[in-house]
């Protein structure tokens, strides 16, 4: 029956073997480059500053990167359905202050649920306008960024709130020696999110909608609902990042989310995700966020002016995103010249 294939695939057998492993999926989702970049970065970091592997520094570093990693995962979900979320920093600020203020009066679980509910509501607000209103995500989220940002200042106009030491210890302390709690939380969220994206139909729909929305609709699936749910899910993940940030800084701050907007987009870009949608990996995004989050520290220990942090971040992004592109072009011409 191989007669049906018009192209005789001499490379068919090895491809089949590879398809069985997760490596092909990681490569398709663009995760190989950020994983490699993180490994290189980590080795360089430990060489320059071996102190990282002490308990205190490990804990500090973890508390620094975990909120960014969570927000980047939120951004990743939006990017997977072919959108972009400009309001993610404002959602983070809003959840952050809601969490901090509610803790003054409410028991902890209620405050947590309210913060998550806030994130969900913000996400669904954006998602509804994008999926059912047919408006471009960048315009909707840009507008809602102002709304959410104002609401955050309305809830709490200066840093404060009722975050206690217990909460700090529960989110940003140490579970065991050398195991920061925040990394455990990040791992829990990442695994649950991975299960959702890779092992439920909804997760695969999210990838499909970004890959080719028309095809998904032609297959009889509800593409709009998928988009809406993706925005809601992103809001929830963002609220988790907001709470981690509030707890690790022991304060609620209506401006705390602002720097995370560009960092989250940068992390998703570094993770090799396609901004047209459909491609992007969780592990790549987390490691990209770790890389970007630690650059400032690294430069401090290397004795470089911290303003260079942004230049170095930019160079890393351009290099990691650019190398596969250059590689493909070079490979094409090398192949063309040989045959």
């Amino acid at each position: 029956m191989s007669a049906i294939t018009p192209t005789s695939t001499s490379t068919g057998l090895p491809a089949r073997v590879w398809n069985g492993t997760g490596v092909v999926r990681l490569r398709r989702e663009g995760a190989i480059a950020p994983i490699g970049a993180f490994v290189v970065f980590f080795v360089v970091y430990v060489i320059i500053n071996p102190e990282l592997l002490t308990r205190f520094q490990l804990q500090t570093a973890a508390n620094l990167v975990v909120p960014l990693a969570l927000v980047a995962l939120g951004q990743l979900i939006i990017v997977l359905v072919g959108g972009i979320d400009i309001s993610i920093g404002a959602i983070m600020s809003l959840c952050n202050v809601v969490f901090a203020v509610q803790l003054e009066t409410m028991p902890v679980p209620v405050a947590v649920l309210l913060a998550i509910g806030t994130g969900l509501a913000c996400g669904l607000f954006n998602g509804f306008l994008v999926a059912y209103g047919g408006l471009p995500a960048i315009a909707v989220t840009l507008a809602s960024a102002f709304i959410f940002g104002s609401l955050a200042r309305e809830v709490l106009d200066r840093p404060g709130g009722g975050i206690t030491t217990e909460i700090y210890l529960a989110t940003s302390g140490e579970l065991l020696p050398f195991v920061p709690v925040s990394l455990v939380w990040l791992a829990v969220v990442a695994v649950l999110l991975w299960l959702l994206l890779q092992r439920t139909a909804l997760g695969r729909h999210i990838y499909g909608v970004g890959s080719n929305m028309e095809s998904v609709r032609a297959a009889g699936l509800n593409a709009r609902l998928t988009k809406l749910l993706a925005f809601g899910l992103a809001g929830v993940i963002t609220s988790l990042g907001a709470m981690m940030l509030a707890a690790s800084t022991v304060t609620g701050d209506p401006r705390s989310g602002d720097p995370y907007l560009l960092s989250s987009i940068a992390a998703v870009a570094l993770a090799g995700a396609a901004f047209t949608g459909g491609r992007g990996s969780i592990i790549g995004t987390i490691l990209a966020a770790c890389t970007l989050g630690l650059i400032g520290n690294l430069l401090f220990f290397a004795g470089v002016n911290s303003y260079w942090q942004y230049v170095i971040s930019a160079l890393i992004i351009v290099a990691v995103v650019g190398i596969p592109v250059v590689w493909r072009k070079a490979a094409f011409f090398a192949k063309g010249a040989r045959s």
Binding site: P6, G20, R28
Partner: protein, 518 residues
């Protein structure tokens, strides 16, 4: 009448279907029915409304008015899901598979609720069993669909439509990328389905396939039913004239006699994505046709020659100039012109005016633009608009408000009288009306008379036969055959396009070939 599937009661009845997109009526009142266990062919020229009708049946497009009933029940219009639940499945012409999903995901995800768990392993096992039951074991269910060949993608698409044991299967040009063994595979599946009592609506314009598989047929023309036919009761000529709405011989201008042997473009062993080494020589004033089925390298060839896709060649000259690598900007400077595949996205800036679209390749960043430029170039613009008889209110009208045929004339007209030496045409007459076609033929022949070399890829075989000096047929990214003089016939082009050897002439013969070609 003890038969449980009473043939007296049709499975599908479509009554007075109308679909309009704004002022354009794609389908204007189509009525037909399909009996259980029957293969109904839906035929017509490009743009006759076949695909729109198929999409309405599948639920992908909501009809503006009219009704569809399946087994007596009205079909919920505009919902693919509802259509699927009523047993109507469709394999679309534009492939409806998600490129970043694996084959297994594409096969299994459309069924079931979104919040259900999804097991890669189980879906792969299921997909493997499904593909094997359809005799497609060579397709790896774990491969991402985007990495498969066009033909394999089409096979997966058909397999997905077949998987639900549909009562009504719609195949919308589903054989367009299949090889002859692939087509006979498809026919086997259709026969299995109809033997089990299912019906098939076979949308196509390949008469050979229709002769073999269709029990009855409905001919569409300009969004209306032009006629009907039953198995064995028709000839190719009758059907063609029914599709075209006039006698079978259509008017094609003859290519002008060649006055010079000068070479306008020559390339040896051109390699690019989808091209496996192509040798080509195009003379000045020559009209060289490119034939072949979709996806065998025609689009890639034109894009590579224009520099829109990376390509390398052993030797490559345009006029007397040697080319090693090219970009669109350099190509235009070298005297090339290109009419791309999709006029709406690649050819025109729809939000800009007619005049600006004509001038698009000739703007330099430092030159005047807007109205001052238009009035300076008024003479040339009016000349082009007049020569092609573009129906427009003037150069300031938005290009997007023109009809498809007139838009196509703009994409073509920007290269006229601009001292071009080679023009690359990607199926310029697709989906435009007969009159616009005639005007384009005339313009193409005029350009050839002026000594411009024309490289013309067309999906319409008749165009290639009548208007071209010479035709090169591509198959799997290579030149399968070169046809000239008495060998330049429709049968030879079709034969070479499906990978049969050059001399196989009879129209249906290639479809019955069991031998793997190429």
């Amino acid at each position: 009448m003890t038969d449980p599937i009473r043939p007296a009661e049709p499975l599908l009845v479509a009554t007075d279907l109308v679909k309009s997109y704004g002022p354009v009526k794609a389908v204007q009142g189509v009525t037909f029915h399909c009996n259980p266990g029957e293969v109904l062919a839906l035929v017509g020229e490009n743009g006759a409304g076949k695909s729109t009708v198929a999409k309405m049946l599948a639920g992908a497009v909501t009809p503006t008015s009219g009704s569809i009933t399946v087994a007596g029940e009205p079909l919920a219009s505009g919902s693919v899901k509802q259509s699927r639940l009523s047993g109507v499945r469709c394999a679309f012409q534009e492939l409806a598979l998600v490129p970043d999903w694996t084959v297994a995901e594409n096969l299994s995800l459309p069924d079931g609720a979104p919040l259900r768990g999804f097991s890669q392993k189980k879906s792969v096992v299921k997909a493997k069993a499904l593909l094997e039951s359809f005799h497609l074991p060579h397709i790896d269910p774990r491969a991402a669909v985007g990495t498969l060949s066009l033909a394999d993608r089409q096979l997966v698409e058909i397999a997905r439509a077949l998987a639900g044991a549909p009562t009504l299967l719609i195949l919308d040009e589903a054989s367009s990328a299949l090889t002859p063994p692939g087509v006979s595979w498809l026919f086997d599946r259709i026969r299995e389905l109809t033997a089990a009592g299912g019906s098939v609506i076979y949308v196509s314009h390949r008469l050979g396939e229709i002769a073999e598989i269709a029990d009855r047929g409905t001919v569409l023309r300009d969004g209306l039913v032009a006629g009907e036919f039953v198995r064995g009761g028709w000839t190719d000529d009758e059907l063609i004239s029914m599709m075209a709405g006039r006698e079978a011989e259509r008017f094609f201008p003859s290519p002008p006699p060649r006055t010079t042997d000068a070479v306008a473009l020559s390339v040896t062993n051109l390699r690019a994505e989808g091209l496996a080494g192509i040798d080509l020589t195009l003379g000045a004033g020559e009209i060289l046709g490119i034939g072949g089925l979709q996806g065998h390298g025609q689009a890639e060839l034109l894009r590579a020659l224009f520099g829109a896709a990376p390509a390398v060649a052993d030797s490559w000259t345009v006029g007397s100039r040697r080319v090693s690598r090219t970009t669109p900007v350099r190509s235009v400077r070298n005297g090339l012109g290109y009419v791309p595949e999709d006029r709406k996205t690649e050819g025109l800036a729809l939000e800009m005016s007619v005049g600006e679209n004509l001038l698009a390749p000739w703007y330099r960043a430092y030159q005047l633009g807007g109205r001052p430029r238009l009035s300076r170039e008024r003479g040339w613009i009016d000349g082009v608009l007049g020569a092609l008889s573009v129906r427009t209110r003037g150069p300031n009208e938005l290009a997007g408000s023109l009809s498809g045929g007139n838009q196509q004339k703009l994409v073509f007209g920007r290269w006229m009288n601009r001292s071009r030496s080679v023009i690359l045409l990607h199926d310029p007459t697709r989906g435009i009306d007969v009159r616009a076609k005639q005007e384009l033929y005339g313009a193409i022949v005029d350009l050839a008379k002026q000594g411009v070399g024309i490289l013309w890829f067309s999906t319409e075989v008749e165009e290639l036969v009548h208007v071209c000096h010479r035709v090169v047929v591509l198959y799997q990214g290579q030149v399968a055959d070169e046809l000239i003089d008495h060998r330049l016939t429709a049968d030879n082009i079709v034969g070479a396009a499906v990978g049969a050897t050059g001399s196989m002439a009879a129209q249906n013969a290639p479809l019955k070939t069991e031998r793997a070609a190429g």
